[in-house]
Protein backbone atom coordinates (compact mmCIF):
# COMPACT_ATOMS: atom_id res chain seq x y z
CA UNK A 1 0.00 0.00 0.00
CA UNK A 2 1.22 3.54 -0.76
CA UNK A 3 1.59 6.23 1.89
CA UNK A 4 -1.26 8.66 2.49
CA UNK A 5 -0.15 11.86 0.69
CA UNK A 6 -1.71 13.94 3.45
CA UNK A 7 1.12 12.96 5.76
CA UNK A 8 4.03 13.17 3.35
CA UNK A 9 6.09 16.36 3.23
CA UNK A 10 7.52 15.63 -0.23
CA UNK A 11 10.55 17.72 -1.09
CA UNK A 12 14.14 18.41 -0.17
CA UNK A 13 14.69 19.68 3.35
CA UNK A 14 17.55 20.71 5.61
CA UNK A 15 16.34 18.98 8.71
CA UNK A 16 17.64 17.43 11.90
CA UNK A 17 17.28 13.75 12.76
CA UNK A 18 14.56 14.27 15.35
CA UNK A 19 12.37 16.15 12.88
CA UNK A 20 13.12 13.69 10.09
CA UNK A 21 12.16 10.79 12.37
CA UNK A 22 8.84 12.52 13.03
CA UNK A 23 8.24 13.01 9.31
CA UNK A 24 9.09 9.36 8.71
CA UNK A 25 6.55 8.33 11.32
CA UNK A 26 3.81 10.50 9.84
CA UNK A 27 4.62 9.28 6.32
CA UNK A 28 4.47 5.69 7.60
CA UNK A 29 0.94 6.35 8.80
CA UNK A 30 1.49 7.06 12.50
CA UNK A 31 -1.61 8.91 13.67
CA UNK A 32 -1.21 8.70 17.43
CA UNK A 33 1.76 9.48 19.63
CA UNK A 34 2.02 9.92 23.35
CA UNK A 35 5.09 11.02 25.19
CA UNK A 36 6.62 13.04 27.92
CA UNK A 37 9.24 15.59 26.85
CA UNK A 38 12.81 14.54 27.53
CA UNK A 39 16.08 15.71 25.99
CA UNK A 40 17.31 14.90 23.39
CA UNK A 41 14.12 13.36 22.00
CA UNK A 42 11.68 16.20 22.60
CA UNK A 43 11.85 17.67 19.08
CA UNK A 44 10.35 14.49 17.64
CA UNK A 45 7.07 14.89 19.48
CA UNK A 46 7.22 18.68 19.40
CA UNK A 47 7.03 18.47 15.63
CA UNK A 48 4.45 15.68 15.79
CA UNK A 49 2.25 17.83 18.04
CA UNK A 50 2.48 20.73 15.58
CA UNK A 51 1.95 18.66 12.42
CA UNK A 52 -0.55 15.98 13.35
CA UNK A 53 -3.73 18.07 13.78
CA UNK A 54 -3.43 19.09 10.12
CA UNK A 55 -2.85 15.51 8.99
CA UNK A 56 -5.63 14.09 11.13
CA UNK A 57 -4.28 12.47 14.25
CA UNK A 58 -3.63 12.94 17.93
CA UNK A 59 -0.68 13.69 20.17
CA UNK A 60 -1.09 13.55 23.92
CA UNK A 61 1.54 14.76 26.31
CA UNK A 62 0.93 12.32 29.15
CA UNK A 63 1.85 12.78 32.79
CA UNK A 64 4.91 10.55 32.41
CA UNK A 65 6.50 7.82 30.32
CA UNK A 66 4.62 5.04 32.09
CA UNK A 67 1.32 6.55 30.98
CA UNK A 68 2.66 7.35 27.49
CA UNK A 69 3.81 3.79 26.94
CA UNK A 70 0.36 2.38 27.62
CA UNK A 71 -1.67 5.18 26.00
CA UNK A 72 -0.15 4.27 22.65
CA UNK A 73 -1.23 0.66 23.09
CA UNK A 74 -4.84 1.70 23.69
CA UNK A 75 -4.69 3.75 20.51
CA UNK A 76 -3.17 0.84 18.58
CA UNK A 77 -6.09 -1.42 19.55
CA UNK A 78 -8.42 1.41 18.47
CA UNK A 79 -6.91 1.19 15.00
CA UNK A 80 -4.06 3.69 14.94
CA UNK A 81 -0.44 3.26 14.03
CA UNK A 82 1.38 4.53 17.10
CA UNK A 83 4.70 5.53 18.59
CA UNK A 84 6.16 6.78 21.79
CA UNK A 85 9.36 8.79 21.95
CA UNK A 86 11.77 9.02 24.84
CA UNK A 87 15.32 8.94 26.13
CA UNK A 88 17.35 7.95 29.17
CA UNK A 89 15.27 7.65 32.34
CA UNK A 90 12.07 7.76 30.26
CA UNK A 91 12.98 4.46 28.62
CA UNK A 92 13.55 2.87 32.02
CA UNK A 93 10.05 3.91 33.08
CA UNK A 94 8.54 2.27 29.99
CA UNK A 95 9.95 -1.19 30.62
CA UNK A 96 6.89 -2.91 32.04
CA UNK A 97 4.63 -1.74 29.23
CA UNK A 98 7.11 -2.87 26.59
CA UNK A 99 6.49 -6.36 27.92
CA UNK A 100 2.75 -5.73 27.68
CA UNK A 101 3.14 -4.80 23.99
CA UNK A 102 5.13 -8.00 23.42
CA UNK A 103 2.60 -10.29 25.19
CA UNK A 104 -0.50 -8.64 23.69
CA UNK A 105 1.22 -8.36 20.26
CA UNK A 106 0.49 -4.67 19.92
CA UNK A 107 2.11 -3.07 16.85
CA UNK A 108 4.07 -0.12 18.18
CA UNK A 109 7.22 1.88 17.49
CA UNK A 110 9.42 3.03 20.37
CA UNK A 111 11.83 5.83 19.59
CA UNK A 112 14.84 6.14 21.89
CA UNK A 113 17.15 9.09 21.24
CA UNK A 114 19.98 7.77 23.37
CA UNK A 115 21.79 9.96 25.87
CA UNK A 116 24.30 9.13 28.60
CA UNK A 117 23.25 7.21 31.66
CA UNK A 118 22.86 5.66 34.11
CA UNK A 119 20.24 7.76 35.87
CA UNK A 120 19.96 11.38 34.73
CA UNK A 121 23.51 11.11 33.36
CA UNK A 122 24.41 13.58 30.63
CA UNK A 123 21.04 14.60 29.21
CA UNK A 124 22.38 16.58 26.25
CA UNK A 125 25.16 14.27 25.15
CA UNK A 126 25.22 11.13 22.98
CA UNK A 127 25.50 7.47 23.95
CA UNK A 128 24.50 4.04 22.66
CA UNK A 129 23.95 2.63 26.10
CA UNK A 130 20.40 1.31 25.81
CA UNK A 131 21.08 -1.40 23.23
CA UNK A 132 20.81 -4.30 25.66
CA UNK A 133 18.13 -2.69 27.82
CA UNK A 134 15.61 -2.73 24.97
CA UNK A 135 16.21 -6.45 24.50
CA UNK A 136 16.19 -7.54 28.13
CA UNK A 137 14.81 -4.64 30.18
CA UNK A 138 11.24 -5.85 30.59
CA UNK A 139 10.82 -8.98 32.69
CA UNK A 140 10.22 -12.29 30.98
CA UNK A 141 11.55 -13.68 27.75
CA UNK A 142 10.84 -12.07 24.41
CA UNK A 143 12.10 -11.01 20.99
CA UNK A 144 11.94 -7.48 19.64
CA UNK A 145 13.24 -5.68 16.55
CA UNK A 146 15.55 -2.66 16.67
CA UNK A 147 16.90 -0.37 13.95
CA UNK A 148 19.69 2.18 14.18
CA UNK A 149 19.88 5.15 11.75
CA UNK A 150 23.10 7.12 11.22
CA UNK A 151 21.81 10.27 9.52
CA UNK A 152 18.70 12.46 9.32
CA UNK A 153 17.93 10.89 5.92
CA UNK A 154 17.93 7.44 7.51
CA UNK A 155 15.81 8.75 10.38
CA UNK A 156 13.15 9.31 7.74
CA UNK A 157 13.70 6.21 5.60
CA UNK A 158 14.20 3.65 8.35
CA UNK A 159 11.30 4.97 10.43
CA UNK A 160 9.01 3.79 7.65
CA UNK A 161 10.69 0.38 7.81
CA UNK A 162 10.21 0.38 11.59
CA UNK A 163 6.46 0.94 11.30
CA UNK A 164 6.17 -1.65 8.53
CA UNK A 165 7.99 -4.27 10.60
CA UNK A 166 5.80 -3.58 13.63
CA UNK A 167 2.73 -4.32 11.52
CA UNK A 168 4.20 -7.45 9.95
CA UNK A 169 5.46 -8.99 13.20
CA UNK A 170 3.10 -7.38 15.68
CA UNK A 171 5.84 -6.64 18.16
CA UNK A 172 7.50 -3.55 19.61
CA UNK A 173 10.02 -2.11 17.15
CA UNK A 174 12.70 0.12 18.63
CA UNK A 175 14.16 3.07 16.75
CA UNK A 176 17.58 3.55 18.31
CA UNK A 177 18.82 7.04 17.59
CA UNK A 178 21.36 9.00 19.64
CA UNK A 179 21.82 12.65 20.53
CA UNK A 180 24.16 13.40 17.60
CA UNK A 181 21.95 11.83 14.94
CA UNK A 182 18.90 13.45 16.56
CA UNK A 183 20.33 16.95 16.61
CA UNK A 184 22.42 16.84 13.45
CA UNK A 185 20.99 18.75 10.48
CA UNK A 186 21.51 17.50 6.93
CA UNK A 187 19.77 17.29 3.60
CA UNK A 188 16.69 15.05 3.82
CA UNK A 189 14.85 14.05 0.69
CA UNK A 190 11.26 13.03 1.23
CA UNK A 191 9.89 11.18 -1.81
CA UNK A 192 6.35 11.52 -3.17
CA UNK A 193 3.75 9.48 -1.28
CA UNK A 194 3.32 7.04 -4.16
CA UNK A 195 6.98 6.07 -3.85
CA UNK A 196 6.63 5.17 -0.15
CA UNK A 197 5.52 1.61 0.56
CA UNK A 198 3.66 1.22 3.84
CA UNK A 199 2.45 -2.02 5.36
CA UNK A 200 -1.23 -1.81 6.30
CA UNK A 201 -2.52 -3.41 9.46
CA UNK A 202 -3.49 -7.00 8.92
CA UNK A 203 -7.21 -6.70 9.69
CA UNK A 204 -9.30 -9.83 9.59
CA UNK A 205 -12.01 -10.43 6.99
CA UNK A 206 -13.74 -12.89 9.29
CA UNK A 207 -17.11 -12.17 10.88
CA UNK A 208 -17.13 -11.50 14.64
CA UNK A 209 -18.65 -14.94 15.27
CA UNK A 210 -15.83 -16.69 13.35
CA UNK A 211 -12.91 -14.62 14.57
CA UNK A 212 -10.41 -15.82 17.16
CA UNK A 213 -8.16 -13.03 18.43
CA UNK A 214 -4.84 -14.87 18.48
CA UNK A 215 -5.45 -17.62 15.93
CA UNK A 216 -2.48 -18.13 13.63
CA UNK A 217 -1.46 -20.47 10.85
CA UNK A 218 1.64 -22.60 10.50
CA UNK A 219 2.94 -20.23 7.83
CA UNK A 220 2.19 -16.97 9.55
CA UNK A 221 2.75 -16.72 13.26
CA UNK A 222 1.49 -13.12 13.52
CA UNK A 223 -2.27 -13.14 14.07
CA UNK A 224 -4.80 -10.95 12.27
CA UNK A 225 -6.04 -7.91 14.13
CA UNK A 226 -9.32 -6.12 14.66
CA UNK A 227 -10.20 -2.56 15.54
CA UNK A 228 -11.96 -1.95 18.84
CA UNK A 229 -15.45 -0.63 18.16
CA UNK A 230 -16.01 -2.63 14.97
CA UNK A 231 -18.30 -5.12 16.67
CA UNK A 232 -15.78 -7.77 17.69
CA UNK A 233 -16.00 -8.81 21.32
CA UNK A 234 -12.39 -9.23 22.28
CA UNK A 235 -10.31 -9.64 25.38
CA UNK A 236 -6.59 -9.02 25.54
CA UNK A 237 -4.44 -9.19 28.60
CA UNK A 238 -0.91 -9.19 29.91
CA UNK A 239 -1.72 -12.50 31.57
CA UNK A 240 -0.77 -15.63 29.69
CA UNK A 241 -3.73 -16.31 27.41
CA UNK A 242 -5.24 -18.73 24.93
CA UNK A 243 -6.06 -18.05 21.28
CA UNK A 244 -9.19 -16.18 22.32
CA UNK A 245 -7.15 -13.84 24.50
CA UNK A 246 -8.54 -15.18 27.78
CA UNK A 247 -6.22 -15.93 30.71
CA UNK A 248 -5.10 -19.52 31.10
CA UNK A 249 -2.87 -20.08 34.08
CA UNK A 250 -1.04 -23.21 33.03
CA UNK A 251 2.49 -24.12 32.03
CA UNK A 252 1.13 -25.57 28.81
CA UNK A 253 -0.51 -22.28 27.81
CA UNK A 254 2.67 -20.41 28.74
CA UNK A 255 4.77 -22.74 26.58
CA UNK A 256 2.42 -22.46 23.61
CA UNK A 257 2.45 -18.67 23.73
CA UNK A 258 6.14 -18.35 24.40
CA UNK A 259 7.07 -20.73 21.59
CA UNK A 260 4.97 -18.86 19.06
CA UNK A 261 6.05 -15.36 20.08
CA UNK A 262 9.74 -16.25 20.08
CA UNK A 263 9.39 -18.25 16.87
CA UNK A 264 7.53 -15.36 15.21
CA UNK A 265 10.87 -13.54 15.06
CA UNK A 266 13.41 -16.38 15.08
CA UNK A 267 11.83 -18.20 12.15
CA UNK A 268 12.14 -14.99 10.14
CA UNK A 269 15.71 -14.11 11.10
CA UNK A 270 16.82 -14.29 7.47
CA UNK A 271 14.27 -11.62 6.54
CA UNK A 272 15.38 -9.44 9.41
CA UNK A 273 19.01 -9.00 8.38
CA UNK A 274 20.05 -5.52 7.28
CA UNK A 275 23.81 -5.18 7.46
CA UNK A 276 25.37 -2.68 5.06
CA UNK A 277 28.61 -4.30 3.90
CA UNK A 278 31.47 -2.37 2.45
CA UNK A 279 34.44 -4.40 1.16
CA UNK A 280 33.99 -7.23 3.65
CA UNK A 281 34.84 -9.85 1.00
CA UNK A 282 38.56 -10.40 1.09
CA UNK A 283 39.06 -8.20 4.13
CA UNK A 284 41.49 -9.10 6.92
CA UNK A 285 39.73 -6.90 9.44
CA UNK A 286 36.04 -6.05 9.60
CA UNK A 287 34.85 -3.09 11.61
CA UNK A 288 31.33 -3.64 12.96
CA UNK A 289 29.31 -0.57 13.88
CA UNK A 290 25.86 1.00 14.04
CA UNK A 291 24.30 4.45 14.37
CA UNK A 292 26.51 7.51 14.69
CA UNK A 293 29.55 5.37 15.46
CA UNK A 294 29.43 3.98 11.91
CA UNK A 295 30.27 7.43 10.56
CA UNK A 296 33.18 7.87 12.93
CA UNK A 297 34.37 4.34 12.13
CA UNK A 298 34.29 5.15 8.42
CA UNK A 299 36.81 7.96 8.96
CA UNK A 300 39.14 5.46 10.69
CA UNK A 301 38.57 2.83 7.99
CA UNK A 302 39.41 5.33 5.24
CA UNK A 303 42.71 6.08 6.98
CA UNK A 304 43.49 2.40 7.47
CA UNK A 305 42.79 1.67 3.81
CA UNK A 306 45.07 4.56 2.86
CA UNK A 307 47.80 2.64 4.72
CA UNK A 308 47.09 -0.34 2.48
CA UNK A 309 45.16 -2.41 5.02
CA UNK A 310 42.29 -4.63 3.90
CA UNK A 311 39.51 -3.37 6.12
CA UNK A 312 35.81 -4.05 5.62
CA UNK A 313 32.90 -2.30 7.27
CA UNK A 314 29.75 -4.11 8.38
CA UNK A 315 27.15 -1.63 9.59
CA UNK A 316 24.18 -2.97 11.49
CA UNK A 317 20.99 -1.25 10.39
CA UNK A 318 18.87 -3.86 12.14
CA UNK A 319 20.61 -4.48 15.48
CA UNK A 320 17.98 -6.82 16.96
CA UNK A 321 17.60 -9.59 16.09
CA UNK A 322 21.40 -9.75 15.90
CA UNK A 323 22.55 -11.26 12.56
CA UNK A 324 24.38 -14.17 14.18
CA UNK A 325 24.85 -16.49 11.24
CA UNK A 326 26.20 -13.75 9.01
CA UNK A 327 28.99 -12.99 11.47
CA UNK A 328 29.58 -16.66 12.26
CA UNK A 329 30.30 -17.27 8.57
CA UNK A 330 32.39 -14.15 8.22
CA UNK A 331 34.50 -15.07 11.26
CA UNK A 332 36.18 -17.98 9.52
CA UNK A 333 37.32 -15.77 6.64
CA UNK A 334 38.91 -12.87 8.50
CA UNK A 335 41.54 -12.26 11.16
CA UNK A 336 39.66 -9.98 13.51
CA UNK A 337 36.62 -7.83 14.17
CA UNK A 338 36.87 -4.32 15.60
CA UNK A 339 33.65 -3.15 17.24
CA UNK A 340 33.40 0.47 18.45
CA UNK A 341 30.28 1.42 20.40
CA UNK A 342 29.28 4.42 22.52
CA UNK A 343 28.94 2.14 25.53
CA UNK A 344 31.18 -0.08 27.59
CA UNK A 345 30.57 -3.09 25.35
CA UNK A 346 26.98 -4.12 24.66
CA UNK A 347 26.33 -5.41 21.14
CA UNK A 348 29.90 -6.76 21.08
CA UNK A 349 28.63 -9.43 23.48
CA UNK A 350 26.32 -10.65 20.70
CA UNK A 351 29.18 -10.65 18.23
CA UNK A 352 31.32 -12.57 20.70
CA UNK A 353 28.59 -15.17 21.11
CA UNK A 354 28.09 -15.53 17.34
CA UNK A 355 31.79 -15.74 16.51
CA UNK A 356 32.53 -18.05 19.48
CA UNK A 357 36.28 -17.84 19.24
CA UNK A 358 36.64 -18.25 15.46
CA UNK A 359 38.10 -14.75 15.07
CA UNK A 360 39.65 -12.23 17.37
CA UNK A 361 37.36 -9.43 18.57
CA UNK A 362 38.66 -6.05 19.65
CA UNK A 363 35.96 -4.00 21.36
CA UNK A 364 36.37 -0.21 21.34
CA UNK A 365 34.23 0.93 24.25
CA UNK A 366 33.42 4.54 25.11
CA UNK A 367 31.83 6.02 28.22
CA UNK A 368 29.64 8.36 26.14
CA UNK A 369 29.28 12.14 26.21
CA UNK A 370 30.78 12.57 22.76
CA UNK A 371 31.72 10.33 19.85
CA UNK A 372 34.96 8.33 19.48
CA UNK A 373 38.08 10.01 18.22
CA UNK A 374 38.63 8.29 14.83
CA UNK A 375 42.26 7.69 15.89
CA UNK A 376 41.12 5.40 18.72
CA UNK A 377 39.29 3.20 16.22
CA UNK A 378 42.24 3.37 13.83
CA UNK A 379 44.54 2.20 16.63
CA UNK A 380 42.27 -0.75 17.28
CA UNK A 381 42.42 -1.65 13.56
CA UNK A 382 46.22 -1.41 13.65
CA UNK A 383 46.28 -3.62 16.74
CA UNK A 384 44.05 -6.12 14.96
CA UNK A 385 46.47 -6.61 12.06
CA UNK A 386 49.45 -7.08 14.35
Amino acid sequence: MKADPKGVLTGVHFMDGDHAACEGAIAAGCRFAAGYPITPSTEVVERFAARIPKVGGVFIQMEDEIASSIAIQGAAWAGKKVMSVTSGPGLSLMMEHIGFAVWTETPSVWVDVQRCGPSTGLPTQPAQQDMQQIKWGSHGDYEIIALSPNSPQECFDLMITAFNLSETYRCPVFFMMDEVVGHMTERVEIPPADKIEVTPRKYTNKKPSEFTLYATTQDDLAPEMIKAGDGYKIHTTGLTHDDRGYPVMTAAAQKKMMDRLIEKIRRNLHKLVDVRMDNCDGADIVVVSYGITSRIAQAAIDEARAKGLKVGHARLVICWPFPESLFREMASKIKAFVFPELNMGQMVRELDRAVSGKARIIPVPHAGGTVHEPEIILNAILEAVR
Binding site: F14, D16, H183, M184, T185, E186, R187, R295, I296, P374
Partner: protein, 184 residues
Protein backbone atom coordinates in the same frame (compact mmCIF):
# COMPACT_ATOMS: atom_id res chain seq x y z
CA UNK B 1 37.68 15.96 -1.82
CA UNK B 2 37.33 19.62 -0.84
CA UNK B 3 36.03 20.01 2.70
CA UNK B 4 35.36 23.28 4.49
CA UNK B 5 34.88 23.43 8.24
CA UNK B 6 32.96 26.42 9.57
CA UNK B 7 31.93 27.72 12.95
CA UNK B 8 29.45 30.52 13.65
CA UNK B 9 29.53 32.00 17.16
CA UNK B 10 27.62 34.68 19.00
CA UNK B 11 24.95 35.20 21.61
CA UNK B 12 21.67 33.34 21.94
CA UNK B 13 19.03 35.46 20.19
CA UNK B 14 21.39 36.84 17.53
CA UNK B 15 20.34 34.19 15.05
CA UNK B 16 23.55 32.18 15.10
CA UNK B 17 21.82 28.89 14.30
CA UNK B 18 19.78 30.38 11.46
CA UNK B 19 22.94 31.85 9.94
CA UNK B 20 24.57 28.40 10.06
CA UNK B 21 21.42 26.78 8.73
CA UNK B 22 21.27 29.11 5.69
CA UNK B 23 24.90 28.26 4.88
CA UNK B 24 24.20 24.52 5.20
CA UNK B 25 21.05 24.78 3.13
CA UNK B 26 22.73 26.86 0.41
CA UNK B 27 25.42 24.19 0.09
CA UNK B 28 23.37 21.00 0.43
CA UNK B 29 20.08 21.92 -1.21
CA UNK B 30 20.94 24.61 -3.72
CA UNK B 31 24.52 23.75 -4.67
CA UNK B 32 24.54 19.94 -4.63
CA UNK B 33 27.23 19.60 -1.97
CA UNK B 34 27.08 17.74 1.31
CA UNK B 35 26.59 19.71 4.53
CA UNK B 36 26.26 18.75 8.17
CA UNK B 37 25.17 21.23 10.82
CA UNK B 38 25.73 20.59 14.50
CA UNK B 39 24.52 23.13 16.97
CA UNK B 40 25.96 23.48 20.44
CA UNK B 41 23.24 21.87 22.45
CA UNK B 42 23.13 22.79 26.07
CA UNK B 43 21.54 25.23 28.44
CA UNK B 44 21.97 28.09 25.95
CA UNK B 45 19.41 30.79 26.47
CA UNK B 46 18.95 34.24 25.07
CA UNK B 47 22.03 36.34 25.80
CA UNK B 48 24.51 33.57 26.56
CA UNK B 49 27.12 31.92 24.37
CA UNK B 50 25.81 30.06 21.33
CA UNK B 51 27.58 28.40 18.44
CA UNK B 52 27.04 26.13 15.48
CA UNK B 53 29.38 24.02 13.37
CA UNK B 54 28.88 23.44 9.66
CA UNK B 55 30.93 21.08 7.53
CA UNK B 56 30.57 21.48 3.76
CA UNK B 57 32.11 18.90 1.47
CA UNK B 58 32.07 17.59 -2.10
CA UNK B 59 31.84 14.04 -0.74
CA UNK B 60 29.83 12.28 1.95
CA UNK B 61 30.58 13.59 5.44
CA UNK B 62 31.47 10.97 8.05
CA UNK B 63 32.84 12.52 11.19
CA UNK B 64 30.35 15.32 11.84
CA UNK B 65 32.29 17.64 14.14
CA UNK B 66 34.64 20.45 13.17
CA UNK B 67 38.27 19.56 13.94
CA UNK B 68 40.25 21.78 11.57
CA UNK B 69 38.47 25.11 11.50
CA UNK B 70 38.73 26.88 8.13
CA UNK B 71 36.26 29.73 8.65
CA UNK B 72 35.04 31.38 11.84
CA UNK B 73 32.30 34.02 11.89
CA UNK B 74 31.70 35.70 15.25
CA UNK B 75 29.15 38.17 16.51
CA UNK B 76 30.29 38.43 20.13
CA UNK B 77 33.50 38.95 22.06
CA UNK B 78 33.01 35.73 24.03
CA UNK B 79 32.66 33.69 20.85
CA UNK B 80 35.82 35.30 19.49
CA UNK B 81 37.77 34.62 22.67
CA UNK B 82 36.60 31.03 22.78
CA UNK B 83 36.94 30.01 19.14
CA UNK B 84 39.56 32.26 17.50
CA UNK B 85 42.44 30.15 18.90
CA UNK B 86 40.90 27.06 17.26
CA UNK B 87 41.17 28.51 13.75
CA UNK B 88 43.72 26.75 11.60
CA UNK B 89 46.77 28.77 10.57
CA UNK B 90 45.88 30.71 7.45
CA UNK B 91 42.16 30.36 8.21
CA UNK B 92 39.51 33.03 7.73
CA UNK B 93 37.91 35.17 10.43
CA UNK B 94 34.76 37.20 9.86
CA UNK B 95 33.72 39.43 12.74
CA UNK B 96 31.19 42.03 13.78
CA UNK B 97 33.63 44.92 14.16
CA UNK B 98 31.60 46.90 16.70
CA UNK B 99 31.01 43.91 18.97
CA UNK B 100 34.37 42.16 18.70
CA UNK B 101 37.83 43.51 19.44
CA UNK B 102 40.63 41.41 18.01
CA UNK B 103 43.14 40.14 20.54
CA UNK B 104 46.56 38.64 19.98
CA UNK B 105 45.41 35.03 20.20
CA UNK B 106 44.95 34.56 16.45
CA UNK B 107 46.84 31.67 14.86
CA UNK B 108 49.43 32.58 12.25
CA UNK B 109 48.33 33.85 8.88
CA UNK B 110 44.62 34.17 9.68
CA UNK B 111 42.90 36.54 7.27
CA UNK B 112 40.51 38.89 9.07
CA UNK B 113 37.41 40.52 7.61
CA UNK B 114 35.49 43.08 9.70
CA UNK B 115 31.90 44.20 9.17
CA UNK B 116 29.68 46.65 11.09
CA UNK B 117 26.86 44.15 10.70
CA UNK B 118 24.59 45.55 13.42
CA UNK B 119 24.76 49.05 11.93
CA UNK B 120 24.15 47.71 8.41
CA UNK B 121 21.17 45.75 9.72
CA UNK B 122 19.78 48.95 11.21
CA UNK B 123 20.28 50.71 7.87
CA UNK B 124 18.32 47.97 6.15
CA UNK B 125 15.48 48.48 8.59
CA UNK B 126 15.82 46.21 11.62
CA UNK B 127 18.65 45.30 13.90
CA UNK B 128 17.16 41.82 14.06
CA UNK B 129 18.52 40.89 10.62
CA UNK B 130 22.11 41.12 11.84
CA UNK B 131 22.50 37.38 11.28
CA UNK B 132 21.42 37.59 7.65
CA UNK B 133 23.78 40.53 7.05
CA UNK B 134 26.49 38.24 8.48
CA UNK B 135 25.32 35.42 6.20
CA UNK B 136 25.56 37.68 3.14
CA UNK B 137 28.99 38.80 4.31
CA UNK B 138 30.02 35.15 4.64
CA UNK B 139 28.83 34.53 1.08
CA UNK B 140 30.71 37.57 -0.26
CA UNK B 141 33.99 36.84 1.49
CA UNK B 142 34.18 33.06 1.18
CA UNK B 143 32.43 32.45 -2.15
CA UNK B 144 31.62 29.00 -0.74
CA UNK B 145 28.40 28.89 -2.77
CA UNK B 146 26.86 31.16 -5.39
CA UNK B 147 24.92 34.21 -4.21
CA UNK B 148 21.87 32.66 -5.84
CA UNK B 149 22.18 29.60 -3.58
CA UNK B 150 22.38 31.83 -0.51
CA UNK B 151 19.42 33.85 -1.76
CA UNK B 152 17.25 30.75 -2.18
CA UNK B 153 18.37 29.33 1.17
CA UNK B 154 17.51 32.62 2.90
CA UNK B 155 14.07 32.79 1.29
CA UNK B 156 13.51 29.24 2.39
CA UNK B 157 14.50 29.95 6.01
CA UNK B 158 12.98 33.25 7.09
CA UNK B 159 9.42 33.85 8.30
CA UNK B 160 6.76 34.77 5.74
CA UNK B 161 6.38 38.52 5.36
CA UNK B 162 10.04 39.22 6.13
CA UNK B 163 11.50 38.06 2.82
CA UNK B 164 12.22 41.54 1.40
CA UNK B 165 13.86 42.76 4.57
CA UNK B 166 16.05 39.66 4.81
CA UNK B 167 17.03 39.72 1.14
CA UNK B 168 18.08 43.37 1.54
CA UNK B 169 20.14 42.34 4.56
CA UNK B 170 21.74 39.49 2.65
CA UNK B 171 22.56 41.78 -0.26
CA UNK B 172 24.02 44.42 2.05
CA UNK B 173 26.33 41.95 3.77
CA UNK B 174 27.28 40.35 0.46
CA UNK B 175 28.29 43.67 -1.09
CA UNK B 176 30.36 44.56 1.95
CA UNK B 177 32.12 41.22 1.63
CA UNK B 178 32.82 41.39 -2.10
CA UNK B 179 34.16 44.95 -1.69
CA UNK B 180 36.62 43.80 0.98
CA UNK B 181 37.73 40.93 -1.20
CA UNK B 182 38.15 43.21 -4.23
CA UNK B 183 40.29 45.56 -2.13
CA UNK B 184 42.68 42.80 -1.02
Amino acid sequence: MAKTEIRIGGLGGQGVILCASVIGKAASIYEGKHATLIQAFGPEARGSACSAQVTVSDSVIGYPYVTNLDILAVMSQDAYNLFAPTLKPGGTLLYEEELVKLGDSLPEGVKTYPIPATRLAEEVGRRLVLNIVMTGFFAGVTGLCSFEAFRSATLDSVPKGTEDLNLKALQKGYEHGTKLIAAT
